[in-house]
Symmetry: C2
Subunit: 485 residues, 2 copies
């Protein structure tokens, strides 16, 4: 064997230089094949072919079409279909409907499918899955269904799921995997390899081995690559990393995700209150959490709740209408302010024409600052230690923004209406944009300090502040300046 192809530490850059436009002939077996487009989505023509075969009841053809897909792609295909088609497809490809497919399904779609199946069928699927995936399968079902399914399951799997369900949702205890490798401190690298060769085949993929003391407390972690590259006679305690990141069972998934990101973890030990190793979290499970937690803020800020295109219509309606009604309340405050200046508007209809501009720009400026603040809080970048500095920073950005926009609107108004009205609207703009900047920081920060998720309700409050202040500053200044009485 030659050393050259075995260890590629550096590659001649000349060999990897990209020819511009040279995009053809990609060797990937998943991207850009006859079923996937260049962004790895199932091609509409492919989906149409499956749908057509399904409608015309050519089950054999449906099976042939779906069979080459990766389980994650089978899940994607199911999600693209509507409820009736999904049922037909499931029947047509029943033996391709593995636990892996079910685990990859969107939460709403999975819940809907599980509710439609009898308890013993769900139990059969749950028995195939790893504990964490099986938990996901049944945690959203109601308690009666859960009990019925658990009763049908094998004892071992049932016990693990019951243990997981005893922890609150979205905590490490609920999400952790109960399969892991823990070894005592006195082993050598060779002992461990011999043991794994004999007993390790029953395990799935694992990336790290945890070293524990007699009390089953983790004392260190060994990456498999160190084990493979260290002489057999070396003691594990000499190669293991002692500086570990331990995850308490009660830790919220958002914190777990931040820990994995911050310390670039591949897996981490989960410990109970007394410090005993009870499970592990691995990065392939955490990536879903990271994506979910980072993505949900855009949805929460917009007032769309858990917004997902697979959410049942009545749930989408009830989570969204709540915020629309809340927003009605804040719009009412704005209307009351306008009503207080009804006389002024009757005298000078230009006020009615211009007032939405002040409110709209203020609202936009507030939303910008709020989005930045919420993201900074979510990533632990904005803490008590730097709130003052960030508030001052945002105030300065707001002054720059406010003055720029005020000059534009002020000149435009002066040209179309009058110079005094231009001055009034310009001043109102500066006041409202600066107010928006301060509210955009303070509202989410105060929600966070009060123990609330700043993404959930900040929007309504910031909008209320910017709308009310916009109308009040503009109409109030118009009256105060003597433009109208």
């Amino acid at each position: 064997m030659s050393a050259d192809p075995l260890l590629d530490e550096t590659i001649d850059p000349a060999e990897v230089a990209v020819e511009e436009g040279a995009n053809e002939g990609r060797p990937d077996d998943r991207v850009d094949d006859e079923r996937h487009d260049e962004e790895n989505r199932l091609k509409p023509e492919y989906v149409r072919a499956v749908r057509l075969a399904l409608e015309e009841d050519r089950k054999g053809e449906v099976y042939e079409l779906v069979e080459p897909l990766h389980p994650a792609d089978v899940a994607d295909l199911l999600e693209l279909f509507d409820t009736d088609e999904r049922t037909d497809l499931t029947i047509a490809i029943s033996d391709l409907m593995t636990g892996e497919v079910v685990a990859e399904l969107n939460d709403w779609v999975r819940e809907e499918m599980m509710e439609a199946l009898p308890a013993d069928a769900v139990a059969l699927i749950a028995d195939q899955l790893e504990t964490d995936d099986a938990v996901q399968l049944i945690e959203d079902l109601d308690a009666t269904d859960q009990r019925a399914i658990l009763a049908e399951m094998e004892a071992e799997g049932r016990a693990a799921i019951e243990s997981a369900l005893s922890y609150p949702e979205e905590t490490a205890g609920r999400l952790m995997s109960r399969e892991f490798v823990a070894v005592p401190e006195h082993l050598t690298v060779g002992d461990l390899i011999d043991y794994l060769r004999i007993h390790g085949t029953v395990l799935g993929d694992f990336f790290e081995v945890f070293v524990v003391d007699e009390a089953h407390h983790p004392v260190g972690t060994c990456s498999l690559s160190w084990i493979l590259t260290t002489p057999r006679k070396i003691a594990l305690t000499d190669v293991m990393k002692r500086d570990q990141t331990l995850i308490p069972v009660q830790m919220d998934q958002e914190e777990v995700a931040l820990m994995f990101q911050k310390y670039a973890l591949i897996s981490a030990a989960v410990v109970d209150e007394s410090g005993r190793l009870v499970g592990q979290m691995t990065v392939d499970d955490v990536v879903h959490i990271i994506s979910e937690e980072a993505g949900e803020d855009a949805l929460l800020l917009s007032g769309a709740g858990d917004g997902d295109i697979n959410e049942p219509i009545r749930e989408a309606f009830s989570s969204r209408v709540r915020w629309l009604v809340a927003n009605l309340g804040t719009a009412l405050v704005a209307s009351l302010i306008i009503a207080a200046f009804g006389g002024a508007i009757e005298q000078l209809v230009a006020l009615a024409i211009l007032m939405p501009i002040v409110a709209s720009i203020g609202g936009n400026a507030g939303t910008q600052t709020m989005a930045v603040t919420v993201r900074a809080i979510a990533t632990n970048q904005l803490t008590k230690a730097n709130t003052g500095r960030i508030l001052w920073r945002e105030a300065r950005v707001a002054i720059l923004n406010g003055v720029t926009v005020a000059v534009l609107v002020g000149i435009g108004t002066a040209l179309v209406f009058s110079v005094p009205l231009g001055a009034v609207i310009a001043l109102a703009m500066v006041i409202n944009v600066v107010t928006a900047g301060l509210a955009g920081v303070l509202v989410p920060v105060l929600f966070e300090r009060a123990g609330q998720d700043p993404a959930v309700a900040s929007s309504v409050f910031v909008t209320m502040v910017t709308d009310s202040m916009g109308f009040f500053a503009f109409l109030g200044l118009a009256v105060a300046s003597g433009l109208v009485s």
Copy 2:
């Protein structure tokens, strides 16, 4: 050695049951210690202690305070400080300022620090780092600075960085690691282990071994846990996974992130146009991309650009004011519509009082739908194959929302003003909320089809549609119904 502590596949659930409220005595060495709060953020008291020691020029104390921190926490500490404090801190802890700390810094903070350092100092840091981190260090600097730093670097590192920089930003070629293990097909598991024991110590952590043919094309992947649990005499080609996910060098980081999530990858081979293995991406690098890509939509939708609390003020100003000015344009459209109905408002000032309600609720409904749509597009859930179904779904949600809100506002208006005005505003509400729902889906979908990022500009257009339609429907119906002339 007893089998029991060695392989924990199942744990007695009784042993891990959580006692409610039992939250004390967590054994974690990073969470809840004297420097971190329960969410793993640096405690304000700790930050204050460092700041005070720094201000009073007690360098030794600063060093002692910072020394126990993980490099990722040193990076967090630097980010919490302002520019001047950062420089002082860097000097006080200079030998703790490892490459790892620099790699963990926020992009803006790192760029600012690198710009302040002479080229040879940056080169010294870059030489310590892995290629992907070194690239991140210098990719945002201007070309002259880049050349000066590269000239000071060691030849090997320089060549790898130059190769990376030859690929566009945010592509696999730019981000991949050039260190990986590739082995020929004819090896057995034993051959590989022997080889790794001799030569593998020079490598960092790795999780998978790539098997390549003579042309250096990847033919399979071996997870280290399979290698450790398989008898030595078995051929690698018998344990490797042939169904691989290959990443083309030109692939955008967003697609890379989605592939890692979808197929639960730990590492993946990166191949050039001719299918040769040229690098690897590992999940610990991808988690940052996942978080960034999922989180940026909330910022883009709000018009805050790359919004980050560490972004320099002038850049925050320029990226935000652009959208405020664009919004001014859309607000102008709304004002023109109001102006067209100036006479009606003079006759009935209640119109001016109520019109912001119609526009505001419409804007909110549009934002909800838009956020859901943008997220579904970003996660490849909304494709050409299901656009029609999703549009119909959102239309139904919008009708439910619109009718609910219309009834509330209609009744309120009828009580306060008049029944005909209540009817007019209720109808305008339904029209505007339904329009908002359709625009919330169609605007981002059309941007996506046109090859644009739907998160960037959708807001402005959706707001323009909902504002204009809100004022037009309400004021137009008021005139058409004969309420005003």
